[in-house]
């Protein structure tokens, strides 16, 4: 049965069923809020995973694109009179263009140098957002007008749960399908060995750039969704710590594993909520759990569990 449907469909179906069933277990809209946060973070993490896990390039400034998306839906309607949905597209387009322009030079760098260059990009975006207070409200942030679709004002945790769930499904579907396209294969070739990929005729620069642009668009859309859901944005969302959080989600869940990114996002969003019962030890435990899981599950949670399963079988 599973073989008949294929790997991708199974993942998508499981995800969709889970999204549909979870609300039945939720006692209050607070759970919808937490779940929506998981979906949004997972969306950004999946995008980053395409860049990091598939194409093998690191980005330590990815929250910059998240911030562009978030501020697009804040500034667009407030200052430019844009429709909110149009603002999401404008944000995504802006992120794509920025990724394209900046990616061309910096993706020629490798390893630590690339990490620093992307980090710089993220910091720059956060700085612009913080200092241009006339447009962005400065360090204290600014309100985001409620999204309205054909006269229907979108609000409430439940509504946003379904919207973010839908976005994540689309994002997952796209990322899973990418695997089996020539682009996806080129990404994997790049990941394994740049020299070999080049020798085999892969246009290395072009595919790196493509992965970077795709990752930027994912982050931007996730940023827009979170901003509209919160009704408020502030520069933290574009900040370095958020970039690190996204990278952690990807690495913790498993580099290259799309399901891993969802799991990674879920762990990093839900765990702090669970750990509040430990009060003062909350951060200590969070750090401990992450350290221990990285030591014992070096490939990330999902690939490691998959490996264990294979071993158990053979």
């Amino acid at each position: 049965m599973l073989n008949l449907l294929g790997r991708r469909s199974v993942i998508l179906i499981v995800l969709a069923v889970m999204m549909a069933v979870l609300p039945l277990l939720f006692p209050s809209s607070y759970y919808f809020r937490v779940a929506s946060l998981v979906w949004v973070s997972a969306l950004a993490a999946i995008g980053l995973n395409i860049l990091m896990g598939k194409a093998g390039q690191v980005s330590l400034g990815h929250a910059g694109f998240f911030g562009i998306g978030a501020y697009a839906v804040a500034i667009g309607p407030a200052h430019l009179g844009l429709n909110a949905l149009l603002a999401v597209l404008v944000g995504a387009l802006l992120s794509a263009v920025l990724a394209f322009l900046v990616g061309r030079p910096i993706l020629r760098l490798k390893g630590h140098y690339l990490a620093i260059a992307t980090l710089g990009l993220g910091v720059l975006v956060a700085m612009v957002i913080t200092t241009e207070s006339g447009w962005t409200g400065g360090p204290d942030g600014m309100p985001v007008p409620k999204l309205s679709l054909f006269g229907w004002r979108v609000s409430g945790s439940t509504t946003w749960y379904w919207i973010t769930a839908g976005l994540l499904l689309i994002g997952t579907w796209f990322a899973l399908n990418l695997d089996d396209t020539p682009t996806g294969r080129a990404f994997r070739a790049l990941h394994d060995s740049e020299v070999a990929a080049r020798t085999a005729g892969v246009h290395v620069e072009r595919f790196k750039l493509q992965a970077f642009v795709i990752a930027a668009v994912y982050a931007s859309v996730a940023g827009s969704a979170l901003a509209m859901m919160n009704g408020f944005v502030n520069p933290d969302q574009a900040g370095f710590l958020h970039s690190v959080e996204l990278v952690t989600m990807v690495v913790l869940g498993g580099l290259g594993s799309i399901v891993g990114s969802i799991v990674g996002a879920a762990v990093l969003v839900v765990l702090p909520q669970l750990l509040t019962v430990f009060q003062d030890y909350e951060h200590f435990l969070l750090g401990l759990i992450i350290i221990v899981s990285m030591i014992f599950m070096r490939d990330g949670m999902v690939p490691m569990l998959a490996k264990l399963a294979r071993r158990a079988r053979s």
Binding site: R7, Y30, L37, N230, F232, D236
Partner: protein, 393 residues
């Protein structure tokens, strides 16, 4: 073999779902005879200097109130979450307090950023929210359910310019930090300066992590006719400004700092350069030096003693904001003889003559702060300590 992997992947995802649903179990319903108050504070992270004393103050005084029998015989149960200074987390915790913990009132919100992010949650749920954050945007425009206890940066500007006016200065230079505090206060100062006949003749800024402001100060020094310099900012920036100011030999021109650095550590950081620096601050900072007939004397000395005895740490005005918030709320509940959020809200709004650490609070439907300029005292650093500046000098 391959599809085994996929099943396992699904199991991993399923486990997450379980984790999500299991925390409903961790919050079993509590006895109905308690009053549940919520708080979201930045206890860790970059704003922990705000959240930490606030957290300690709230817990300490809630224990005190409970030991004395609670409010009208009902014990208070305080739920505190740490947002780490992250507005997005604060928003989630706010939702949790309203939806899951079902609190009847909210006291907290350490920073303007976290407060602004939480406001929509409490406005929508119609639960009173008393914030401990500084900026004036929180209560201007007035929101039905939102109040705050700390003075605003606008009042600090007014207090400074009032003093500048009393000294018959009209030409002022400003050097501001570009962090949230500095940029917000800078904007407020520029707005109110004309009301005091003050013109800003030079304006410089510095970044929150800059380690030298000599260049900006030299520019101010070379501007003709500057009679006083105002430095809106907090953290280490103002201490560096103060040191550079003395190094450049500018000390003959009065330097005004903001309430943002109203703590002993500023004097320690700036060293002898701090001599003669003036700043507006809450009475709490000079509790021991207040004259005995000062209406705030008893409250601030009691709070200072209680806090310092319990924590062995020097008192800060931030913890004082939490004290004020808690007691404004408790008083309102006693007056309302109810914990119904709507009735409590109405009573908070009629708070009259409440003597807190931050000043004497009298709220109204158009004023959800309730402090006037008398809440600030103008202080001057003399011999490495704060002294009260006599009015008119």
């Amino acid at each position: 073999m391959a599809h085994y992997t996929h099943v396992l992947r699904s199991v991993a995802v399923g486990a997450t779902a379980l984790a999500l649903s299991s925390f409903s179990l961790m919050h079993a319903a509590l006895a109905a005879s308690t009053i549940k108050l919520g708080s979201v504070l930045s206890i860790t992270g970059p704003a922990s200097f705000l959240g930490d004393p606030e957290d300690k103050t709230l817990k300490m005084y809630v224990d005190k109130i409970n030991a004395a029998g609670g409010v009208d015989g009902q014990k208070i149960e305080l739920v505190v979450y740490d947002d780490g200074g992250d507005a997005n987390k604060a928003r989630t915790f706010a939702t949790r307090l309203v939806e899951d913990d079902k609190v009847v009132a909210m006291i907290g919100g350490s920073t303007t950023g976290t407060t602004m992010a939480m406001i929509p949650v409490f406005e929508e749920a119609q639960i009173p929210f008393i914030s401990f954050a500084g900026a004036v945007e929180i209560i201007d425009p007035v929101r039905k359910y939102v109040f705050k206890t700390p003075h605003t940066d606008k009042m600090a500007c007014e207090k400074i310019f009032e003093n500048i006016k009393a000294r018959k200065f009209t030409k002022v230079a400003m050097i501001s930090g570009t962090d949230g505090f500095g940029s917000s206060m800078r904007a407020q100062c520029l707005k109110v300066a004309p009301n005091y006949g003050v013109s800003i003749v030079a304006e410089e800024t510095y970044g929150p992590r800059d380690s030298d402001m000599t260049a900006q100060l030299t520019k101010i020094k070379n501007t003709a006719g500057v009679e006083a310099v105002v430095n809106p900012g907090f953290g280490q920036g103002p201490a560096i400004v103060t040191r550079n100011y003395a190094q450049l030999g500018m000390s003959s021109t009065p330097l005004y700092q903001s309430h943002g650095v109203a703590s002993k550590s500023f004097i320690e950081l700036a060293g002898p350069a701090a001599e003669g620096v003036r700043l507006p601050a809450a009475a709490l900072l000079v509790a021991d030096k207040l004259p005995d007939n000062d209406p705030q004397k008893k409250v601030v000395t009691d709070y200072k003693k209680t806090y310092e005895d319990a924590t062995k740490q020097p008192v800060s005005t931030f913890g004082g904001h939490a004290y004020d918030g808690l007691y404004i709320l408790i008083d309102a509940m006693k007056r309302a003889k109810s914990t119904d959020p709507k009735k409590v809200r109405d009573e908070i709004e009629t708070t009259k003559g409440f003597v807190g650490t931050g000043g004497i609070v009298t709220m109204s439907p158009t004023d959800h702060l309730g402090l006037d300029l008398s809440a600030f005292r103008m202080l001057e650093v003399k011999n490495g300590d704060w002294t009260l500046v006599q009015p008119g000098s």
